[in-house]
Amino acid sequence: MHANTEQPLPRQEQPILRVRDLHAQYRTSPFGVGRGVKAVDGVSFAVRRGEVYGLAGESSSGKTTLIKSIAGAIRPPLEIVGGSVEFAFLPGYGGLQRAPRADVARIRWRNLSYIMQGSMSVLNPVRRVGSAFVDFAYPHIGGSRKQFERQVIAHLERVRLDASVLAAFPHELSGGMRQRATLALATICRPDFIIADEPTTALDVVVQKEVLGMMRGIQRETGSSVLFVTHDMGVHAHVTDRLAIMYAGRLVEEAATARIFRKPLHPYTRHLISSLPRIGDDAPREGLGGSPPNLADPPSGCRFHPRCPLATEICRREVPAMLEADDGHRVACFAVDQGGRA
C-alpha cells in the first residue's frame, strides 16, 4: 500500500530489507490471565544493498525477537501483531511467515542465510561437516557433485580452512574453526542477505578479530547485505556501516556507525558509548542508574525516561517519534528535539 505513493528508486538504491512499524509480542496466559510482552514495539528501518547494518542492544531489549520476526521464525507464544517485513527478493507478502513454504524454501540459503552464535546448533553433531554443505547448498547450486565439491573447497580457502574439515565431525574442530565453517556455509550461495546473530561472541578475542576480518572480506566480495546483531560496541565499530541502537523493544537511534561513535545524540547511546572502558584511558566511568525495564510492564512514554538524566514531563506521557535529526541520523528523543543535545 505504501509502494504506490513512493517514487521508484533505481534498483541499487532500493533497500534489500524494509521493516515497517513492526510489532511483535509474546502472548502468554498464566492461570487464564492473558498477558502480552511487547518485545518489539514499532520498529522501522531499512537495510541497503551491500551494507552491514548493525543492531546493538542489551539482553531483553528485543533484538532476538526482532531477528526472529525478520527471519520468519515465528512460533507461539511469539506473534506478529502489526507491521511488515519485506525483502526485495521476496516482495509482496509482508513477512516471511506469510509467504508460501515453497517460496521460503527457494530463498533460504540462496537469498537469505544465517550465522548464529552457537555454531554447534547449525552443524549436526552426528554428521560430518561436508554433509551440511550438501544439505544446505547443493540444492541451490546444482551441477555435478564433483564440481560442487571443488566449489566448496575453493570457498573454504577464503576462510582459511582446508578440505579435510569436510570429513570431520563438528566436535573435532575448535570453536573458531567451526564458526569459520558456518561462515563458509552461510556465504557459499552468495546470498543477498545474511542475518548474523552474535556470530563471534563465543570466540576468544584473537580468533574473533580474525573471523570478523574474514566475514568483512567475504561480504565485500559478494556484496551481500548483513544484519549484524551484537551487544559488543567494539565489534560494531569494527565491522558495521550503519548502526541502530535498540532499547526496550524500540529503536532509539540510528546513524552511520562513525557518527554514532563520534556524535551520539540519544542519552542512552551517549551513556553507552562514554561508559566503555578503553585501554590507555584512566578517566573514571559512571554507571547508569536504575535497571533495565521489564517488557511485561514497560514504563509509559519514552521507555528510557526512568533512567534518563534529561527526562521531562512529556517523556513520561508521550512516546517520542524516531525523527531525522541530521542527514541520515535518526533519533527518538524529546530532549534532542528541543536542542538538548550535547
Binding site: 513512493e6 522501522s44 565489534v235 565499530a237 542512552y268 566503555l276 578503553r278 566511568r285 554507571g287 541520515g328
Partner: protein
C-alpha cells in the same frame, strides 16, 4: 598478622583425559606463583583466553580444586591442610567467590534474602533479628539495592545485574579479606557493567578487600586492576603493573591479545552515506527537524 594475604608458590594442576589406551595429561595450570600483600588491598586481574587455566587457578584459590603440586597459603591457612567443617568455615570467612552466571549461583527455589541472612548468621555470629536486618540492608545499600527490593524475592524476579549485585552483597557480608570473581561482568548488560566494576573498586578502597578478578576482557581489567597477570596454556607469560603491561606489553602473546581488542572507536575517514534514508524509511515522509 601475616604479611602475605595470599601466597601461591609453584602451583600446578593437571587433568587426565582419555581412557586406558589414549591417556593424555593436560596441564591446566603450570607452575604458577604469585603473592598478594596483606597490608595493601589490591585488584589483581588474571587474563587469558578460554583454556588458559585462569578459572582452574581461581578454583584452586577457592579450594574447590586441589592442586596436583605446589602450595597455596591464604592468610596463614595452608589450603591443603583444611579439614572439617570448622576449618572450612574459618577459610570461607577469609575468601568469598563471585561467579560468572548469577542465575546459576542462586538456587531458583530459594528466596534471595535467605542467602543473605544465612551468610550473616554463619560468619558474624547469631545477632538478633533487627541487628541482622540492619547489617543486610546496609550491605545491599552498598551495591545500590535495599532489603525492601530483595526481601521475599526469588532469583527469577530480579534482572541479571541485580542478582550479580546481590551476589556481591552476600560476599561482602562475610567480611572477607579476599574476593575471587570469575568473569563477574561478562553476563551483565553494558549499561550496568561499569556500575559493577566501579563497585569492585569501592570494595577495595572503602572496605579494604583484595580482589582476584578473572576475565578475558582487557579493557575492564585495565580500568580497575592494579596488577595484571597474563596466562597462556597454564603458564603466566607476563605480569606486572596493569597500566605498564597493557601500555607496553613485552611478551608477544600479550601484544597479540592487546591488538585483538576491538576498540569502540572508529577510524577517521569513515564514508558518510550520501543517500538520504528519508525516502527509505516509510511510512510517510518523516518530518525534518528545524
Amino acid at each position: 598478622m601475616n604479611d602475605l594475604l595470599l601466597d601461591i608458590s609453584e602451583v600446578s594442576k593437571s587433568f587426565v583425559r582419555g581412557g586406558l589406551l589414549s591417556r593424555q595429561k593436560i596441564a591446566a595450570v603450570n607452575q604458577v606463583s604469585f603473592q598478594l600483600a596483606a597490608r595493601r588491598p589490591e585488584i589483581l586481574a588474571i587474563i587469558g583466553e578460554s583454556g588458559s587455566g585462569k578459572t582452574t587457578l581461581a578454583r584452586m584459590i577457592l579450594n574447590l580444586e586441589t592442586p596436583t603440586s605446589g602450595k597455596l597459603v591464604l592468610d596463614g591457612i595452608d589450603l591443603a591442610g583444611i579439614s572439617g567443617s570448622a576449618g572450612r568455615m574459618a577459610f570461607m570467612r577469609k575468601v568469598q567467590p563471585i561467579f560468572q552466571n548469577p542465575f546459576e549461583s542462586f538456587n531458583p527455589l530459594k528466596r534471595l534474602d535467605r542467602y543473605l541472612f544465612m551468610t550473616r548468621r554463619r560468619f558474624s555470629g547469631a545477632a538478633g533479628e533487627p541487628a541482622a536486618e540492619a547489617v543486610v540492608d546496609d550491605a545491599l545499600h552498598k551495591v545500590g539495592l535495599s532489603l525492601r527490593e530483595v526481601r521475599d524475592r526469588y532469583p527469577h524476579e530480579l534482572s541479571g545485574g541485580q542478582l550479580q549485585r546481590v551476589a556481591i552483597a552476600r560476599a561482602m557480608l562475610a567480611q572477607p579479606k579476599l574476593i575471587v570473581a570469575d568473569e563477574p561482568v561478562s553476563m551483565i548488560d553494558a549499561s550496568l557493567r561499569i556500575s559493577i566494576v566501579n563497585l569492585f573498586r569501592r570494595l577495595r578502597d572503602d572496605l579494604g578487600i583484595s580482589i582476584v578478578y578473572v576475565t578475558h576482557d582487557l579493557a575492564t581489567a585495565y580500568y580497575i586492576s592494579d596488577r595484571i597477570m597474563i596466562m597462556q596454556k597454564g603458564r603466566v607469560v607476563e605480569s606486572g603493573d596493569a597500566r605498564a603491561v597493557l601500555k607496553a606489553p613485552q611478551h608477544p602473546y600479550t601484544r597479540q591479545l592487546r591488538d585483538a581488542v576491538l576498540l569502540p572507536e572508529v577510524a577517521d575517514a569513515a564514508p558518510d552515506p550520501s543517500l538520504s534514508i528519508n525516502e527509505l524509511i516509510s511510512p510517510g515522509a518523516p518530518e525534518r527537524r528545524p
